[in-house]
């Protein structure tokens, strides 16, 4: 099985391969009170989740232990804060780019190695890809490998279901 030595190399391979959308049969969908996630590709310890986020939502600072990840902007209006810091002001980039897409489409937002971070989504909602490398466990979803205050009862239920399975 082809593997990669880091999440950045995995991302480059996936892009060079034409960005295949091939969700796995096993555990492809995860729901929280803030976002719906679909795993669009999974191989070995690596996977990509596509997150669609509701407008005007925000996580508290949290971490995904044992997961190295890289987020890539798709559209909408969202930002990540790292290590308890402030959310960066991306308002200058909140405009249309080529072919009617978002100016930030395809831009890497944050590289996170299990460290604390937070996500804020503004009134447009938003969407991003999260490339992941799971160090010790079989990949499932960062939504259920979550160290921090959860997002509500849907999130709690999702974690509970994952723990039972």
């Amino acid at each position: 099985m082809k593997e990669w030595n880091e999440v950045e190399a995995f991302k480059d391979w996936w892009v060079a391969s034409g960005c295949p959308i091939k969700p796995p049969f096993e555990y492809p969908i995860h729901i929280t009170d803030m976002a719906y996630a679909l795993t669009i590709y999974r191989k070995g310890q690596y996977q990509i989740e596509l997150y669609i986020c509701k407008p005007n939502t925000e996580t508290q600072v949290h971490a995904h232990p044992g997961i190295e990840s890289l987020s890539v902007y798709l559209t909408g209006n969202l930002s990540f804060a790292k290590d308890g810091g402030a959310f960066p002001d991306l308002s200058q980039y909140q405009k249309e780019g080529a072919n009617g897409t978002h100016l930030l489409l395809g831009k890497s937002l944050e590289s996170i190695n299990g460290t604390p971070h937070a996500l804020k989504v503004n009134e447009e909602g938003g969407s991003f890809l999260l490339f992941q490398r799971w160090a010790n466990k079989k990949p499932r979803s960062v939504a259920v490998e979550y160290d921090g205050v959860t997002l509500g009862h849907k999130h709690d239920k999702q974690i509970e279901v994952a723990n039972v399975e």
Partner: protein, 172 residues
């Protein structure tokens, strides 16, 4: 450009399913589903839908839109009026390559023919290919004729209608 939604669907798949969400109106939500427009060009677009476990949608249509549904993952019963809607549970298994047995299967859903969904415990994910014949594409979530999914869905429809009315009257 394409002549119909099936041509667009086939082109999109052959082109490697490009992920190119628009800046304008890309994300919508109801009480039990969220959508992201993956690609939009002219009157054609493809939306990715992700739905909650055990959710349903009542019979409805999307006026002026020809659509085609493509199975991605989860556990989805797609029903179309006038068609024999086989029980999809018989195909609730993995292919040898680890994808869902129904991955890539498509059903055309012509304008005016009611359809409805039932989702199993795994949730569901599908692509909705759309040809908006007489207006610019937004989302079939808000171009909805029939009983809605719930109060969140009503709010989303109301918000888009409000924005549309503001544009019509020149009030911004």
């Amino acid at each position: 450009m394409w002549n119909n939604v099936e041509e667009f669907r086939d082109w999109y798949i052959q082109a490697g399913s490009p992920i190119r969400p628009p800046f304008k109106n890309p994300v919508f939500h109801t009480d039990n589903a969220m959508s992201l427009c993956l690609f939009r060009e002219g009157r054609f677009q493809v939306e990715l839908y992700v739905t909650e476990p055990y959710s349903t949608s009542p019979p409805h249509t999307h006026p002026g839109v020809d659509s085609a549904f493509m199975y991605l993952a989860g556990n989805i019963q797609f029903n179309l009026e006038g068609r024999e809607n086989a029980d999809a549970q018989q195909w609730q298994k993995a292919r040898p390559d680890g994808l869902h047995f129904l991955y890539g299967k498509t059903v055309s859903s012509p304008d005016g023919i009611p359809h409805w969904l039932g989702i199993g415990p795994e949730g569901g994910a599908f692509l909705s290919f759309e040809h908006w014949k007489d207006k610019d594409p937004v989302s079939v979530t808000v171009n909805w004729d029939g009983e809605t999914v719930g109060s969140e869905h009503d709010k989303t429809i109301g918000k888009v209608k409000g924005e549309s009315n503001e544009q019509d009257t020149g009030v911004v």
